[in-house]
Symmetry: C2
Subunit: 256 residues, 2 copies
Amino acid sequence: MTPTEFRKKVRDNEYQKPTAGMCPGYAQTNLIVLPWEDAYDFLLFAQRNPKPIPILEVTEVGSRELQTLGNDIDVATDFPKYRIYRNGKMVDEYLSVVDFWREDLVSFLIGCSFSFEDLLVDAGIEIRHITEKANVPMFNTNIPLKQAGKFSGNMVVSMRPIKSSQIATAVNVTNRLPGVHGAPIQIGNPAEIGIYDLTDPDYGDAVTINENEIPVFWACGVTPQAAVMASKPKFAITHSPGHMLITNISNKDLSV
Amino acid sequence: MTPTEFRKKVRDNEYQKPTAGMCPGYAQTNLIVLPWEDAYDFLLFAQRNPKPIPILEVTEVGSRELQTLGNDIDVATDFPKYRIYRNGKMVDEYLSVVDFWREDLVSFLIGCSFSFEDLLVDAGIEIRHITEKANVPMFNTNIPLKQAGKFSGNMVVSMRPIKSSQIATAVNVTNRLPGVHGAPIQIGNPAEIGIYDLTDPDYGDAVTINENEIPVFWACGVTPQAAVMASKPKFAITHSPGHMLITNISNKDLSV
């Protein structure tokens, strides 16, 4: 299925699940939509925290269209699932946010680690949550972000168990993709970053960790959602964790 | 001389020249200072044009202090020379801009290709403008930037003549430094990007190009100045081309 065909299914609410492993080769993105009054603070927050918040595109104020990531994308319908936050509290999840759209909204499309998963697979590395048909496990950490205006909070990470013999490869492959979180931020010591139970993720699903595997942590595009909860802007729309936009650009385009 | 010692000389107006080759190993930066009303547009302009405008740090509104690049830096005194623009026209050059400072100004510190020059020297590559004690030659091009709000314009590039046998090395060395413009944007065909006379740069000085050398072009942090002239914000302060801030961080810190 091409990204355009896949997004058609999403737009028609025929696909409502996590997107890991879908349309291999194409970049996926996270989303946060904020009112114009919060846009500068958030753009600066991203500039100061590029590992968890690598911005791939910012829309014009009020627009639901993209330029760089694909010219047939509707930001308000093409993610399988959205969350709406008011004053830092999640209101509910929605399949479309067309009814909530406003002329003062700015959308930030943020690189996603799902983008590098097929490059890891190409390198012979198993992605456990794809094998187990689960959502990637994601965890809040104790790693503070650099504040910008009203935005602050701690980093969220995604975790993949990787065989000890393949960790160096996983680092090298992802290091070349700074636009989708780049190299891991930590390997093998969850307690050091405030994660005490790998079987109980804060977002997504737990996955099996085998004996010869080490948990590897990458900065995660759910970080802005944690920042929204911590910073309480009046209104925000995000994707639902794991339920990404599949863009028209290839992961290779994001490689340096 | 340490960066702190060097900046002391600059602050006392004892050093007023271009900074190429000074304090080897330490990152240098370009500068643009804009009123708050233009800050979002410029930050977005940089996000959309990361090759010429790789932002290393943004100050708090009104502040002349930095956090990441060094905590003993004064943005208004520590560049050897500044330019002030009003409505897109350069007013004059100044050794300090303390007298022009306002509470609504935001400073953008932008990566500089001088940062990678000592890594090129380490790789055995001669940097001609350092050998000739000249400022690096810089040229306006016909390469359009992506617009953001009021900001648009064409890319400015710096040029270094490199031996044919060393161009691959120059690409590899600079490719690892996306924070200071990264790999060249073009090699060997100046007319294609609108440059018709290499002996007549738009900024800086002409340098000798030997027979076995090819002109190699990197995106340049003077680009925001060309954008200022094209986009005419009411007020802007920039560094004078080639007259950079030397920071406390090492070029290695910028490597990926």
